[in-house]
């Protein structure tokens, strides 16, 4: 839970101290969300908020424990938004033990490939590496380009050699901006209609906020006359 909420946990903390750290981190995390959440999400939260004060009965007694690993070597990639993807991976116990035993094992690498179309990773135009450890099993990856396909490989670095352990599915990162008008289209009318949609007011990630100045001018003009 401390990891989930991004809390730094010093070594040798007691259970009580750890609980306090997690509670504080969770509170900060939620406060940050409340500040940045969209209206629809804030409204939806009130549906589940019954404002309970006090400790509910312990109902976790029968809680099922899920395995940390399914004993298979795989990696999966999920698109979160046009700037970020999420990858999770798993290792077979035999692979993990081999790496732990090997003196030459230097670590794992997430090798991120970008492509214009779905091709084998050998034919990918660009790639970059993210070093991870045997303790990691998930990672958020900043995606440099839009209108691009990404695939990721889990690679073990053993001495001077690299072993590709698993390759993910492909994700398609869309363009998060307004398409340019075709040369024969009446751009001005489209701009004026887009200016009415409230798009400028949406809390989209920075890359999506690239609304052409000519549309922003139309929004200002419209506000002036309202």
């Amino acid at each position: 839970m401390a990891d989930n909420y991004g809390a730094d946990v010093p070594d040798n903390v007691t259970r009580d101290e750890l609980e306090e750290i997690v509670a504080e981190a969770a509170e900060e995390w939620q406060a940050e969300h409340r500040r940045t959440d969209s209206h629809s999400i804030r409204m939806e939260e009130t549906k589940y908020d019954i404002q309970v004060v006090g400790e509910a009965d312990s109902r976790a007694a029968e809680e099922v424990e899920l395995p940390e690993s399914y004993n298979e070597t795989r990696i999966l990639l999920m698109l979160r938004d046009p700037s970020w993807a999420f990858a999770y991976w798993d290792l077979r116990a035999s692979d993990r033990q081999e790496f732990q035993r090997s003196e030459d094992f230097e670590g794992l690498v997430l090798r991120v490939y970008s492509m214009e179309r779905d091709v084998p990773i050998e034919d990918a135009q660009q790639r970059f590496d993210i070093p991870v450890t045997l303790l990691d099993s998930r990672w958020y990856i900043n995606l440099p380009d839009q209108e691009t396909l990404y695939r990721i490989a889990l690679v073990a670095v053993i001495g001077h050699e690299e072993r590709q352990l698993a390759v993910s599915n492909v994700i398609v990162v869309p363009r998060a901006t307004i398409a340019e008008a075709a040369p024969d289209e009446k751009q001005g009318l489209g701009d004026a209609l887009i200016a009415q949609t409230g798009i400028h007011d949406l809390d989209l990630p920075p890359v999506s906020r690239r609304i052409p100045q000519r549309i922003l001018d139309l929004i200002d003009e419209d506000l002036l006359f309202n």
Binding site: D49, Q51, V53, R59, E65, D81, P174
Partner: protein, 538 residues
Amino acid sequence: MKSGYLVLLLHAHLPFVRHPEEESLLEEIWLYEAISETYLPLLRVLNRLEADGVPFRLALSISPTLTAMLQDELLQERYLAYCDRLIDLASHELERTRDHPQFRAMAKRYHELHVTNRREFAETYERDVTRGFDYHYKRGRIELLATAATHAYLPLYIQHPSAVDAQIRVGVESHLRVFGKAPRGFWLPECGYAPGIEDYLADHGIRYFLVATHGLVFAGERPDAGVYAPMMCPNGLAVFGRDHASSNAVWSADEGYPSDISYRDFYRDIGHDLPMSYIGRYLPGGRLRMNTGFKYHAVTGKTDQKLPYDPDKAARKVREHAENFVYHQTKRVHRLGQLMHSDRCVPPVIATPFDAELFGHWWYEGLDWLDAVVRRVAESDDLSLVTPTEYLKEHPEHQVGSPSFSSWGSKGYSEVWLDGSNDWIYPHVHKAIERMGELVERFPDENGLKRRALNQAAREVLLSQSSDWPFIMRAGTAAPYAVRRVKDHVGNVTHVYEALSRGAIGTEWLTRVERRHNLFPDLDYRVFSPRSGTSASR
């Protein structure tokens, strides 16, 4: 012809929360509150409009998990007990406020509300609230849309075609079973769209769906009508874009109508204000403070010194806000019409979807506002309410284009359902989906106990996918419950998977789980066939 159209869409949804193994559970109150404060009062609005001869058109989606709970005998019985408890509290409130004229009118209202709710629930709808909506659906005044089986946020399952297909297929089948009519529209949970979803929808007979504003504005082809006319996907499905500006007038916590100082405050509640010696018997275990729904104060402003709520003052504000909303939408359709008519001959349509539970539950006066808006629009020469299907029937030709990945969540994409607080669930839920596919391949045509076990495993996979669990984990309000639910459902899939591998299913265990998670009675586990899904996804 009117200058423009307004689609008012309410999306009603709650996750499947039903615990026969426990006498009562805090989270079951989500359903009871929604029935008392939103669904029954909404039906009263629709019935009043009908009785007064006011023409109206609304769109409404009711999720399959919600209809399953609304039709469940155990929850119906528990809801009646909830009503009885609140009627008893309301009677005591009449007594307590006898010498407090500033609160007395509201105490009377609460008493009337709960007595009316109980009577209508038990007698008018014979415990099944879906009948009330079905009545107006069959008369064409409301259009009901289908939605995903357990309200899965579909973009995060796009790598698992069988899971997306199962959510849509079971959602459509559930709609047909409850309302006896094939749906034409589909509400994508959280407006979550990823390219390709339209192909699954088309496979199940859907004709249109809605996306967030930027789903159309950032479409592959520049939208030449903004979001004020649907776009036709290349596969022929129509897609309406949410109008952010009109939604914002209501949604915005700071600037929206509900934040007006005259309206009833949501947070100030006698469950927290009154001594335990009085209120304790109406609270869980007699010791946990929580909302009771009895609230006597107005928003007032950013202060703890809340003023007593004045229902007459609030009613005047409701009329003013309804007038304001209709005035602005009328003005907007004129402006939009000028821009659109110069280029094409379709009148603009403004699509404004809301969470249904916003009305009545969070915004106490919201349903009165809706009633007033409908009446005001009915008198308008320029603006008309329309259902998406009616609009498409009148105006079937639109620009062809491909919508963009989008949702109505914070920052416009998937961050609410995929962040540090909830991302741990996906390896497990994805594994459950994959194991279900494997079971379908290994046991393609089972009967008897094995079939029951496989069908239950399919229910558990669907339940594990509810968007509510990651949402609640992130919100933090009932996170332990959401964690428990994901673990329970994935654990149950694992149990069936391992038991079938061993060739030994325990009847007692299976019966217990079937009784707990009893939704989708006609579910066929083969909906998770890895070969199911649209041809485009294979």
